[in-house]
Each structure stands twice: as structure tokens, then as C-alpha cells.
Amino acid sequence: MSAAARVLVVEDEREIRRFVRAALEHERCEVFEAAGVAQGLAEAGTRKPDLVVLDLGLPDGDGVDFIRDLRSWSDSPVIVLSARTQEADKIAALDAGADDYLTKPFGVGELQARARALLRRQERRGEAASPVFSFGDVSVDFPRSQVMRRGEPVHLTPIEYRLLCVLIAHQGKVLTQRHLLREVWGPGSVERSHYLRVYIGHLRQKLEDDAAQPRHLLTETGVGYRFQP
């Protein structure tokens, strides 16, 4: 990782800020702190961070508004911190443009892994995408629209293939159901969430070792899906 990626931490709880800072500095990031929405937006404007870690329950405003505001002029990735019971908030944050979330309480290792993944993606942006993508024992040849598993071709239907491509294109990122339905089935299909679940099930059966214990096509319960290479 390149030295001194700039990370902005927007969190009102001082002790949480403290260990988030320690974790990120350990990853050789330069960390800036803000305790509220207003201060956070001001800091984001001056520091131009490469990554934002944002608590959703801030005292002076809604974290979702922060993301919308930020997204109007910046595409820096955003990790949201929230509680388990706040699925609706998570979805709102992701739909507003957040890239990932961590459920409280979370460990330092989890935070570091997520931050690394997003920073790496940010770095790779602009690089030409490789024509062949591999994960586990599966490889996807984009120019030829062919999927191979353990050297054998796997037959995917057009929708299954499109779904897989969207997931791979956003690897490591949580995609909400609404987002996936819109991208794969079209804008009129956001109410047909059971289609999405059934097709994810098909992909797991064809590409995962154990469809009930997937390692790549992960469920983010109540929110959406994440592809983990």
C-alpha cells in the first residue's frame, strides 16, 4: 500500500475514535478526526481524504445526509459504522453512496481489512481491467463471456452471468438489493427481490463448494450481497 493514505474518521465517541485511529495508523494511514457532521464535512473539504470512516449515529445530524453531501463533490470511499438493528439506516447509507459498513462492535482486524480493500480499489481505479478474473477455483473470461470451474466450462444463463459480472465489478463492496435489481433486471424490477435471491442461489449452486456456506457470494442480511474474491 502506498504510504500516507488520508483517512477521515467522523465519530462522536472519543474512545472509538482513538482505537480507529490506532488501527488505521498501524496501516500507515494519515488520520484526521471529526466529532460531528458539520466538522466532518469541513474536514473532508480541506483534507481531501482517500477514505472516510463514518458513524451513522452522530449527534448533530444524519450520517446519510453527510454521504449525500460528500458524494456531490467527492467519490472517496465511505465505510459506515452502525448497529446491528439498523438495517434500514445501512441501506439508506449504501443507497446514498456509502461503500461498506461495519456492525458495532467490530474488531480492529475487520476494520483494517475493509479499509485496505477500499483503498486498494481506489488505487486500482483507472487501471485497465484484466480480461480474465479468477476467484477460488472459478475463472471468468469477460471477452468470451465464459465461466470455467476447475477447468470445466460452467453454463450460466444470461441473467446469472450479468449478475455475476455486476458483483465482480463491485467486488468487496456491499450492494443493496435495490441496486442489484436495478442493474441486472432493470429499473422497473426493484419490487421483485425474490428473483434476486433465487438467482444468487443458482450462482452459489454452480460456483460455490457448499451453496449453504458460501465463501464468495456472501449475504449481508437485510441489506444485500457482497462478492468476496
Binding site: 482505537f19 488501527a23 462492535p105 444463463t157 442461489g201 456456506q213
Partner: protein, 488 residues
């Protein structure tokens, strides 16, 4: 009658001086005019009397020979007959006209009364007001003593403002209420109705009973004014129904407000409890990041601190979940999904703590989609798998099986632990634990039961063949939506 006779006599007197001046035919006209006026003013009977009297007086005083009933010229008999016929018809028409005018006036009065009542009732804000307005109106307009009876919370009909539970409800009120038909007490002498019980028929259903008792026992108001009274009853009914729906709307508003308060208290509590725990887990973790590295003993302590904080969080989460599940209705966010998704998500979440326990998932092929709240069902599977891991010997597999049985899908989570105690239903009660040596306050299974039951399913504990315990959930299949096959 006397006035009718006097009028005829007066006409005779007036016409007598004109005898010889006027033609007899014109004198007949004077008599006909008199009959018409009498009938219009005094009604049919007076008109008929005047008609006969006029013919008699005309014969006696004007037709020659005068002052005798005898008639010289037989053609006057035709005059009499026509005169009588015209007079009778005129009397009849005039009287009908008069009656209609009276009826119209009566109707107008009724309409005005009803309008006033409706206007007053429209402003009523409580059933007590409705009762008061109705009583006052019926007393003033019809001399009737009235009362509005409404069903009480115990189902008994009782007068508004007199909900004395010891008073039995009037039998006829119940009859009127149940049959949706007016019932009468006929105990007065002369067969007049003493009390009428009118059902309050509203658009949705019968809302109560209007009791009406004429204060003058001799009056036949109840029968004579029955249509009007029924109209009044339906007016009252509509107002009572309106007030009922106002109450319903208010109650649901209050409930919504209470629900909102509860949920905001719970989420504030959850935030306040979770924040220090999050800090604790993270800070314990961050001790490992310090350089120079801490001694191994300090690292172990940090790990222990972290584990305890995570456990504490589990307990807090369980307590908050239980509070949420027990505080009023559980709002499920149900969506159709394969059951393996909830199972997979739970295993994914538990992967680090599951450690040495492999999980085997065996699902019948072609299982239908189930309509589940994904977040809550994930919680159920987490609790069950965690429990299974807690009681299983190290390295033993946890088995999850799902099968379809008719209109249900059963999902079993089984372990090779010591099994359940003999009283298996008790394990789903709050704060019951299988083994006091193991950690946990025994909320896990109670939460599972609350969630599964909210889904319309059931949950049971069973012994496993070959040793161990199984928790079996039965979830209804319902009507899964069709998923169209893709045209490849």
C-alpha cells in the same frame, strides 16, 4: 257543521232579495261557491252537508212553487241533481286540497325538526352529548322520554352515563339490537305502546338502541310517528358510528405514539450500551498494535478483555431483542427467500466463534421459498447454532436439515451434546438454562420461539437418535410467488 249550515243560510238570505233580479241559474252559482268555500275551509264532511243543504234551500226558497219542497217544473230535478253532483265533487276536491296542505305543513315541520336535530348532533364530540341532545329533542318535539343505550366493554347494553354493571340489560333492547328491528312494550291499557326500542342502524352495523317512552300514556305517538322516530334513530346511529371511528383513529394514534416511544427508548438504550462495548472491543484489540509489542501475558489479558466484551455484547443484544420482541407487536419485514440464505448468513456470522465445529447443511432439493424476516431468522439460526456448538463436544459436527412436509417446511438444528432435560417445553421459557455450568442467561431459545411464532410457525425440542439434541422449527409455506424461468 254549524258553520256550514250558517253559511248556507246566509247565502239564502243574501240571494232572497235578488230573486227575480237574477236568473235561477246564477243563484245556483252562489250556492256552489258557498259549498266550495265551506269544503276548502272546513273539510269534507262540512262540504257534503253544505252540498245537501244548498240543494234543499234552493228548492224551498227559490224554485217555484216557493216555500215548498214540491217542484212545478220537472226539469228542476235535473238542476238539483247536477247541482248536488257538482257541489259534492267540489267539496271532495277542496277537502283533498286542504288535507294535502296540512300534510305538507306537517312534513315541513318534521323536516325542520330533523334538520335541527341533525345540526345539533353534527357538533357532538362525545356519546354523552349525543344522548343529551336526543333526549332534549324528543322531549320537546314529541313529549317522549328517550335514552340512548350502547354496548359496554362487557357486551352488555346500557344507557349512556349509566354503565352500572349490576343493572341487567333490558330484554327488549337486546331483542331490538340483535334482530335489527324495532321492539315494543305493549303494557299500557288500550293496547297503546308504552315503550319502543329502536335499533341504531348505522352503515357498518347496529351501534346501539334508542329507547322511547311517551310521557302521556294515552298518546299513540310511538305508532303515529314511527317513521320519524326511525329516521331519528338512524341519525343518532350515524353520529354514534362517526364518534366510534374517531375513537378508533385516536386509539391507533396513541398506540403508534407509544410504539414510537418504545422503539426510540430501545434504540437509545441500545446505542448507549453498545458504544462503550464497541470501544472496549476495539481498544483491547488495539493493544496488539502498540510498539514495542507487549509481553505475551499482557496480550492474553487483552484477548480475554476482548472476549468478555464481545460476550457482554451478546447478552445485551439478547436482552434488547427480548425487550423489543415483547414490547407490543413484532413488526416483521417479510420477504420471500430460500431458507438456505438465512442459514448461510448465520454460519458466516458465526464462523470465527464456531471454531472447531464443522457445520453440515443438508437441504432437500426444490424447497419452496419461505416468507421470512431475514434479520430475525438469521438471529434464530445464530442462536440455535451457537447453542449447538456450546453443548457439543469439541470437533463434533452440527447438522442442519430442512425438509418439506405438506404445507410446512421443517428445519432442524442438531448436535451431539448431552441432549435436553426431560421437560423439553421449558427450555423455550425465558431465563431457563439447560446447564448452569455453561454461560448464558437462557434467553436465546425464548427469542427463537418469539420470532418463529411471529412467523406463524412453531418450535420444539427433541432428542436426537444416537444421542444429542435437536431443535425443530416448523414454518408455513404459504403462497410463494412464481419465479418465471429464464429463456436461455
Amino acid at each position: 257543521m254549524a258553520i256550514a249550515a250558517a253559511a248556507c243560510a246566509a247565502t239564502t238570505l243574501m240571494a232572497t232579495p235578488l230573486h227575480g233580479v237574477l236568473d235561477l241559474a246564477n243563484i245556483v252559482m252562489l250556492f256552489l261557491l258557498t259549498v266550495l268555500i265551506v269544503a276548502a275551509g272546513l273539510g269534507r264532511a262540512a262540504g257534503v252537508l253544505a252540498a245537501f243543504l244548498s240543494v234543499l234551500l234552493f228548492d224551498v226558497f227559490f224554485v217555484p212553487p216557493r216555500f215548498s219542497l214540491a217542484v212545478q217544473d220537472a226539469q228542476y230535478l235535473i238542476t238539483f241533481a247536477v247541482m248536488l253532483a257538482v257541489a259534492l265533487i267540489a267539496a271532495h276536491l277542496a277537502a283533498a286540497l286542504q288535507r294535502e296542505a296540512q300534510l305538507a305543513a306537517g312534513k315541513e315541520r318534521q323536516t325542520r325538526l330533523l334538520y335541527e336535530l341533525a345540526r345539533e348532533l353534527a357538533g357532538a364530540l362525545a356519546v354523552e352529548q349525543v344522548d343529551e341532545i336526543t333526549r332534549r329533542f324528543l322531549r320537546e318535539a314529541f313529549d317522549i322520554e328517550a335514552a340512548v343505550l350502547l354496548p359496554q366493554p362487557d357486551g352488555r347494553l346500557a344507557a349512556v352515563g349509566d354503565a352500572d354493571a349490576r343493572k341487567p340489560e333490558p330484554v327488549l333492547a337486546r331483542v331490538a339490537f340483535n334482530n335489527n328491528h324495532t321492539a315494543y312494550d305493549a303494557e299500557h291499557a288500550g293496547g297503546r305502546y308504552a315503550v319502543g326500542w329502536l335499533p341504531l342502524k348505522a352503515p357498518m352495523r347496529v351501534r346501539g338502541v334508542l329507547k322511547a317512552r311517551p310521557l302521556d300514556p294515552a298518546a299513540d305517538t310511538l305508532y303515529a310517528q314511527r317513521t320519524l322516530l326511525e329516521t331519528i334513530a338512524s341519525l343518532v346511529a350515524i353520529v354514534v358510528e362517526r364518534l366510534h371511528y374517531v375513537d378508533v383513529a385516536q386509539a391507533s394514534q396513541v398506540e403508534t405514539a407509544a410504539e414510537r416511544l418504545r422503539s426510540s427508548i430501545l434504540s437509545a438504550l441500545s446505542h448507549d450500551l453498545r458504544t462503550p462495548l464497541t470501544a472496549l472491543v476495539g481498544l483491547a484489540d488495539s493493544l496488539a498494535l502498540l510498539g514495542p509489542a507487549l509481553p505475551a501475558a499482557a496480550m492474553d489479558t487483552a484477548q480475554a478483555l476482548r472476549d468478555q466484551a464481545v460476550r457482554m455484547h451478546g447478552l445485551v443484544a439478547n436482552l434488547l431483542d427480548m425487550a423489543r420482541l415483547h414490547a407490543g407487536r413484532i413488526a416483521l419485514r417479510r420477504e420471500w427467500q430460500p431458507v438456505e440464505e438465512a442459514i448461510g448468513a448465520a454460519i458466516q456470522l458465526l464462523r470465527p466463534p464456531l471454531g472447531e465445529h464443522p457445520v453440515r447443511v443438508d437441504l432437500e432439493p426444490e424447497l419452496p421459498l419461505l416468507e421470512l424476516d431475514a434479520v430475525l431468522m438469521e438471529r434464530v439460526f445464530c442462536n440455535l447454532i451457537e447453542n449447538a456448538a456450546k453443548y457439543s463436544p469439541a470437533g463434533a459436527a452440527i447438522d442442519i436439515e430442512a425438509k418439506r412436509h405438506g404445507q410446512d417446511v421443517t428445519v432442524a438444528v442438531c448436535d451431539r451434546g448431552p441432549g435436553f432435560p426431560p421437560d423439553k417445553s421449558a427450555v423455550f421459557e425465558m431465563f431457563v438454562r439447560e446447564d448452569h455450568a455453561k454461560p448464558g442467561v437462557g434467553l436465546g431459545l425464548a427469542i427463537c420461539r418469539a420470532i418463529v411464532e411471529a412467523h406463524g410457525g412453531s418450535i420444539a425440542a427433541a432428542d436426537r437418535v444416537g444421542g444429542g439434541a435437536c431443535v425443530v422449527m416448523t414454518l408455513p409455506v404459504g403462497n410463494p410467488p412464481a419465479v418465471e424461468e429464464e429463456q436461455a
